[in-house]
């Protein structure tokens, strides 16, 4: 694979052979479609309604969070 883009997702480096992708594509890639998640890109929340229009580029840092048990 020729790495054209590198993202940091939840602290892990993810490499892609495309130079850009949308948040919607990443969510699909990570198998989170239909899951209750929230996405933050470079410290800014990406609203669900913006997934299809939000373009990710090399070096972007993402947080993908969900709800877990806690007190």
């Amino acid at each position: 694979m020729i790495v054209k883009m590198q993202l940091v997702v939840n602290g892990n480096i993810k490499q892609f052979d495309v130079s850009q992708m949308t948040v919607a594509q990443l969510v699909s890639e990570l198998q989170f479609v239909g899951k209750r998640i929230a996405v933050e890109c470079n410290g800014e929340i990406v609203p669900k309604s913006q997934y299809a229009q939000s373009i990710l580029r090399d070096g972007d840092t993402l947080e993908v969070v969900g709800a877990v048990g806690g007190g």
Partner: protein, 260 residues
Amino acid sequence: MIDQLVIAGKTYGSRLLVGTGKYQDFKETRAAIDASGAEIVTVAIRRTNIGQHADEPSLLDYLPPEEFTYLPNTAGCYSADDAVRTLRLARELLDGHTLVKLEVLGDSKTLYPNVIETIAAAKTLVKEGFDVMVYTSDDPIIAKQLEDIGCCAVMPLASLIGSGMGILNPWNLQIIIENATVPVLVDAGVGTASDAAIAMELGCAGILMNTAIAAANNPVLMASAMKKSVEAGREAYLAGRMAKKLYTASPSSPTTGMIG
């Protein structure tokens, strides 16, 4: 008698709020929460596991958001910035949900609240339209300040998070309750049913607990006990207890008509 808890304009029949952590599995979580009768359940916001199986069950499958009011927390946050960031994510995660539990911790050994950071975070969150239920120390001045900032409920600790030490300073709690115009809930430190009853007898509007139930030998049975103790404590508070009369005995049976 209708006696409901009102938080941020919404009414609840149960005054027991429970956490969803530390259970063996989701099935036990659900069974305990059902036994507790709780309508509000806290959840933590954490990174998702990248690469997890898509069909892996999640907490939300067992506690559907349609059935419960979620209270996302900021557990593990040590600064106002981290807490605010976490709750903005929670709001996005839960489709604009505004009811949140703010807690900003001071150190990992005691998990004691850092009230300075808590106040800073509360100001930002209230300004951004969140309904903030705030975990704090049992300092009456800080509790009042958090209310004045606009928090919808103030939640002083009874003792340290997860300690099960019970109510260490009932007098402070009483001052906080007397001064407050928003619901005061004890959050953290309850160990067993009598602790919950005592907090409610003091006039707390409710109790938030997790470990006392989850770490019991039989969490489902303890959840049931907590439900009853919160209800009993509330009723005793509303009933108004008799005055304590040290060294002044008063028989319950007639003193006349004795035989002989």
